[in-house]
Assembly symmetry: C2
Amino acid sequence: MGNKKIEVTLGVEIGGTTTVFGLVDSSGKCYVEEKIQTRPHESPEFLFDQLFTKFGEIYNQVSDKYDMIGIGIGAPSANYYKGTIENSSNLNWKYVNVVELVKKYWDLPTVITNDANAAALGESKFGNARGMKNFIQITLGTGLGSGIFVDGNIVYGHDGFAGEIGHMTVEKNGRSCGCGRKGCLETYASTSGLVRTVLELLSLYNDDSVLHEIAPNELTSKLIYRAAINGDTIANMAFEATGQKLGEALANVVACFSPEAIILSEGVALAGDLIVRPTKHHMELNLLNLFKSKVDILLSGMPRGDVAILGASALIWHELMLEKDKKKLAMINN
Amino acid sequence: MGNKKIEVTLGVEIGGTTTVFGLVDSSGKCYVEEKIQTRPHESPEFLFDQLFTKFGEIYNQVSDKYDMIGIGIGAPSANYYKGTIENSSNLNWKYVNVVELVKKYWDLPTVITNDANAAALGESKFGNARGMKNFIQITLGTGLGSGIFVDGNIVYGHDGFAGEIGHMTVEKNGRSCGCGRKGCLETYASTSGLVRTVLELLSLYNDDSVLHEIAPNELTSKLIYRAAINGDTIANMAFEATGQKLGEALANVVACFSPEAIILSEGVALAGDLIVRPTKHHMELNLLNLFKSKVDILLSGMPRGDVAILGASALIWHELMLEKDKKKLAMINN
């Protein structure tokens, strides 16, 4: 008599250099965790061959304990509706139908979304947004990624590409953005934005700063953070200015969505209160009265290492839950 | 043997001076249409006594033909979740539970929402957004009202007050807004915003303009429209500038929601192409590449006179449809 198997999903996140994957149960416990190199210049088939060969070996050894019921994939420029990755700047693939490709290896429910939405789903299922139906997840990495929950589900919009808060224009004729336009929020509120803000402040003020000693291309948000907690004026001003730009933009975002909370994660968010305090302050300052003191700014509640796998896994757990509801509805309709 | 009765809902819109109501079937046909004075300084009980006395008399005469199955109410500062009107600037009521109040007169499913959401629901059920699951409705009246559809439903947010696009800050230290802040979109993109833009342009340029002859408090969007189609430079520049501000803001809104279309109605929108063209132009100019040429700017498809009643009626039709789905789900779950 065998024990009942534990239901798990496979979470996969495809990054520009590394692809991570793992088996996760519905409580967020991660049982298997592995990574392979992405090699973005090879074909997608090459990546998935490698991925499922490695995963297959692992799963063979544990399939008596775990029952895999779905696959969730987070990837840059992924389209949830179409199951594709399109024109990703991090991967060299023009157009790949990832969901179709995966089905050649495992015939299980498979969903893909971009990494920012996966992060929001992770926060919703396993992190600090548990129980929240309306919240916004902001990733302050090299760029600014965002995933938006409205009424318990991700906002995908008409074409699957909604949630580009990082590309809201916040400064007319502002900083050049990787997208080809100017003044996007992510040119200010991101790790690269923080570095640019330091350079701007060094150009404006005469204050002594340890940041004068570091070449711009070696400047990181971690170094700026260390300088700030050691009392460096410029570094502290940089966090203040970053929080101001982010807080002002979030006041506009709140006017649209009226979320319960905004969750900051990764990169600049690792500075904790140094970024949360000015962000909250400037958001409140700019909010319509109706929304004042109603919206929390929280830090991510996800365990650091597993974020990507948990997010991708949460995507398919969320989908399976929605599917269950839909099937029930279809049953009674027939 | 009687004929089968036609199912209708009662749509009520409470305005600052007039309250309109009517019976509407599921195709948008309006059978009975009446209005009473709102008298905002009297109690809400006074209004509903009057309303249901008048409506009761009418309904008695037609109840053999129509079967009323629900009541939808549109009102300023209405909260969908709580069924209330709270701190409305147009009505003198601090806090009224409208849904409870209505139940004293008619025990039918009753829902309330603000006028902007009611307009979006009207557009969705009876107007130019039929079949669209993701769109944004913008009313360019004295202020700028907005109702946002995501995945087939209104975005209410955590507290019921989402969708305040008119109070996104678009100009730091810009024009004073009725909300007490500065630079809100509605101080530029609205009938009052259009008038302010004319005054600003008259202060900046020496061009001849018929608008020099009109006292600011007599200047209306209709007069500016007439001047514009007669070739008045300042009037044409005013529509161009209004479209620019609106288009730039909508580019940011699209980044959040990725809607299929944005629908403009009332006030400034009655100028048709004079406002649609510059709005579309400046929105496209500022869109992230991903969204370019994907989002339509449309004019309202609602019959002019009935907009308010149809919107309020659409609210309850939409709700009854959602309820039906939920009940089916509950049935199978039990």
